[in-house]
């Protein structure tokens, strides 16, 4: 079934995302990267190159490597911005017969949409490879300030690439969608987009579920690259001071410096200082020279402060154009890699007076928003498909009043789980299924959802019968609990409707209670488990004694009997120490019994003791899936 993808067709980079199981997922390209350079080229050999590979050969082939196509989309040749771009772009831009822009690549003329289509084609192909499914439709984003002609050009590009463009949406709107802001009431949203080369601020108004762009402003030549340049300049300056050499004239050194500067800038978003370490950066008559300079976050912030402050002017302008005051802005969204810098986040917070939204990867937030829009258009995010979760753990009561979970809280429904249990006492003829809801380890602290009995259990030693308990919740939250005796085939069940559950407030209270009581609950549970273990130990000891009575001396017999009695009497009280002590004493007595019984046989051959056969460790039944036992009704 064909998927609709969301595409952020950027000036320097593009990204693609898609909805999967209700969540937006960014799709990596064929090279494994989540962003693709918006570059197309024709090699000297006539081969078409798109993306990273096109970028890598740009310097050897500048006239046939086309980048920043976005700047020319939907424009007429005679527009002033085109005249400006013609001056600095290394490839040829010509006028078409109808006055539109044409670019020359590999000796042929192309319209900007045709070139953008090549990028979209690669994104489409990579998405299909990743999804294992055809992709025929897309939602593509554009800057909020794009006019009709520019939007149409983007739509055309999609068509040429074989994509039906379901919608063109604004980049700041996509960013708002990514943060789920469309679910809020009528609000004013400021989207602060500081990318690699450009800065855009947009003021949006959310009304009746639709976003309207009230104003936009920005700086088309202000971005992360400028921040890098400040660091490079500083490094060159420091090196000159230190070693008397001007690295800015050394092309090779500049390459390394650029990379190192960007790396240091990124690192300083998470640490307070970093070392820029470039050994053998250059050499002179006296030998090789090394660059080893420490850059602190404080110093970096000093270096770039004026750049960050430069973004505030357009913010003020955008607010004025939208006739809004700073106080009237309800939400602030951050877009673009450079917004990762703590200084940027801090200045934005100071300016708007509120904490900006920033959980989503700022390089991907626009693509993610486009994917969400794509999902909505396709009806994938419709109510019918929204699945619920069970808010509290569901389980049954087992031996000792313990609450044994069957379905953990926050499990998506519909779901089913079954587990096999057994009886707690010999000849137990029925089992009681006490259905519980809650997080506490002890049954009494949880809420009873229902109670029923399965009888007709055949007489058998405890732990032998196999009672399968199955929990089944349907999409409406109705719980069916069924108990099935695997031996007799008898079964009993109960249906619990959602309305017999709890309200949201009650759910939260139960969760809080569980957390508050966690320590004492754990202790209580441990006590119960110890008691169960002691009970098991006594039971098995009695059994063993019965079977081996005639093999051991009378006084040992007496000793074991006494120890068993002591455990039973300790179990009658609540002195945990006494229980543990008597358990240990009984264990020791059983060891003696074992020694006595085996002592009558031949000593084992040389080579060590063989493992005891048939001996069950105290307190454990070899039943596989049996987790707990029902107490006798």
């Amino acid at each position: 079934m064909a998927k609709v993808i969301g595409i952020d067709l950027g000036t320097t980079f593009s990204a693609v995302a898609v909805m999967e199981a209700g969540e937006p997922v960014v799709i990596p390209n064929a090279e494994g990267s989540r962003i693709t350079p918006s570059v197309v080229a024709v090699s000297k050999g006539g081969e078409r190159l798109v993306g990273q590979v096109a970028r890598r050969q740009a310097i050897t082939n500048p006239e046939n490597t086309i980048f920043s196509i976005k700047r020319l989309m939907g424009r007429r040749f005679d527009e002033p911005s085109v005249a400006y771009d013609v001056k600095w772009l290394p490839y040829k831009i010509v006028k078409a017969a109808n006055g539109d822009v044409r670019l020359v690549m590999g000796g042929k003329e192309y319209s900007p949409p045709e070139l953008s289509a090549m990028i979209l084609q690669k994104l489409k192909a990579d998405a299909e490879a990743y999804l294992g499914d055809k992709v025929t439709e897309a939602v593509i984003t554009v800057p909020a300030y794009f006019n009709d002609s520019q939007r149409q050009a983007t739509k055309d590009a999609g068509q040429v690439a074989g994509l039906k463009v379901l919608r063109i949406i604004n980049e700041p709107t996509a960013a708002s969608l990514a943060y789920g802001l469309d679910k809020k009431k009528d609000e004013t949203i400021a989207v602060y987009d500081l990318g690699g080369g450009t800065f855009d601020i947009s003021i949006l108004e959310l009304g009746e579920g639709t976003f309207h762009v009230k104003s936009t402003s920005g700086d088309t030549h202000l971005g992360g690259d400028d921040f890098d340049q400040k660091v490079i300049n500083w490094l060159v300056g420091e090196f000159k001071k230190d070693q008397g050499i001007d690295l800015s004239q050394d092309k090779m050194a500049l390459q390394r410096l650029r990379e190192a500067a960007e790396k240091a800038k990124c690192e300083l978003s998470t640490v307070q200082q970093t070392e820029v370490n470039l050994p053998f950066i250059t050499a002179d008559a006296s030998g090789p020279k090394h660059l080893n300079i420490t850059l602190t976050r404080a110093k970096l912030e000093q270096l770039v402060m004026e750049l960050v402050e430069k973004t505030l002017g357009p913010c003020k302008q955008a607010l004025a154009d939208a006739t809004k005051t700073v106080e009237q802005v309800d939400e602030v969204v951050l877009v673009g890699g450079q917004t990762r810098m703590p200084l940027v986040q801090q200045k934005v917070k100071e300016f708007f007076g509120k904490e900006p939204h920033r959980g989503v990867n700022p390089d991907e937030v626009v693509a993610i928003g486009a994917a969400i829009q794509a999902g909505v258009l396709k009806g994938e995010v419709s109510d019918v498909l929204l699945l619920d979760v069970t808010p509290l753990t569901l389980g049954i009561e087992t031996l000792g009043g313990v609450a044994t979970p069957l379905i953990q809280r926050n499990t998506t429904i519909p779901t089913a789980k079954s587990q096999t249990f057994s009886t707690a006492a010999d000849n137990q003829s029925s089992v009681e299924i006490h259905v519980l809801q809650g997080e506490r380890p002890m049954a009494t602290d949880n809420r009873t959802l229902g109670l029923f009995i399965l009888d007709g259990v055949l007489p058998a030693p405890r732990g032998m019968p196999q009672i399968e308990v199955a929990f089944d919740i349907d999409a409406n939250g109705i719980l069916n609990v069924r108990a099935h005796d695997k031996g007799t085939g008898r079964e009993q069940k109960i249906t619990i409707t959602a309305s017999s559950g709890l309200s949201k407030g009650e759910v939260e209270k139960m969760q809080r209670d569980a957390e508050a009581h966690a320590a004492e609950d754990a202790k209580h549970k441990e006590e119960v488990e110890t008691k169960n273990a002691a009970d098991n130990l006594a039971y098995n000891a009695e059994k063993t004694l019965r079977e081996n009575k005639d093999k051991i001396a009378d006084d040992l017999n007496k000793e074991v009997e006494t120890k068993i009695a002591e455990v039973r009497s300790a179990l009658g009280g609540s002195d945990m120490e006494a229980i543990r002590r008597t358990m240990q004493e009984l264990s020791d007595a059983m060891q003696k019994l074992g020694k006595a019984v085996y002592g009558q046989q031949q000593p084992p051959p040389e080579g060590g003791q063989p493992p005891p056969s048939g001996e069950e460790p105290p307190g454990k039944e070899d039943e596989g899936t049996v987790e707990g036992e029902f107490r006798e009704v």
Binding site: M1, E20, A21, G32, S43, K44, L49, V53, A54, R56, Q57, A58, I59, T60, P62, Y130, L131, G132, D133, K251, M252, Q255, P279, F280, A283, G287, P288, E380, V384, L385
Partner: protein
């Protein structure tokens, strides 16, 4: 069980009174609804199958991805080692200490080779953007890598780092070289 039976009986009585037309209408509606539900189910199933397949693929790739990320982060050290060895002062080339560094370099490269990391062929080769990144365009044989600024490496069939190279522009080969030589 008993509750459903009662509702069933009531329904039957009502239907007998209604006309064939409304039955047909109801059928059309139900068909449409069922079609929608089936489509949703198919979509969810398809999503799941694709996700599973991708999960399996990613599991296999994860180990390689982790390894290549680790190798990538260590490569700058190897680069610097090689830079160090490339600029040994002439009077020290025979010094045993320099030999020691040389041996360390070889050791590092051997470890990488054992991991399956191999250097990308660059120097003297025709420039290939799948393997190389052109950092500079200078006088030299056209389209050939005339200098390596940074070694490239591939691992598990993928180029994890392209070689950063200087590509010949063809100038200097040509008897009538153009006046401006800025790339």
């Amino acid at each position: 069980m008993s509750q459903e039976g009662q509702t069933g009986r009531e329904k039957r009585e009502i239907i007998e009174v209604e006309s064939i037309e409304s039955l047909r209408e109801a059928l059309t509606q139900e068909r449409a609804r069922a079609g929608g539900l089936l489509a949703n189910w198919q979509r969810a199933q398809a999503d799941f199958i694709n996700y599973k397949r991708r999960s399996e693929q990613e599991k296999e790739e994860t180990s390689n991805l982790a390894k290549s990320a680790l190798v990538l982060s260590l490569l700058p050290v190897l680069d610097d080692l090689e830079r160090a060895l490339a600029s040994v002062p002439p009077r020290l080339t025979k010094h045993p200490w320099v030999d020691g560094i040389s041996i360390i370099n070889r050791k590092f490269r051997a470890i990488l080779a054992a991991l399956g990391v191999s250097p990308v062929k660059a120097l003297g080769e025709p420039f290939d953007p799948n393997l190389h990144e052109a950092a500079l365009h200078e006088k030299g044989k056209a389209g050939i890598v005339i200098r390596e600024l940074l070694k490239g490496y591939s691992f598990a069939g993928k180029v994890i780092r392209p070689a950063k190279v200087v590509v010949g522009s063809g100038e200097g080969e040509d008897k009538e070289a153009s006046a401006s030589s800025r790339p």
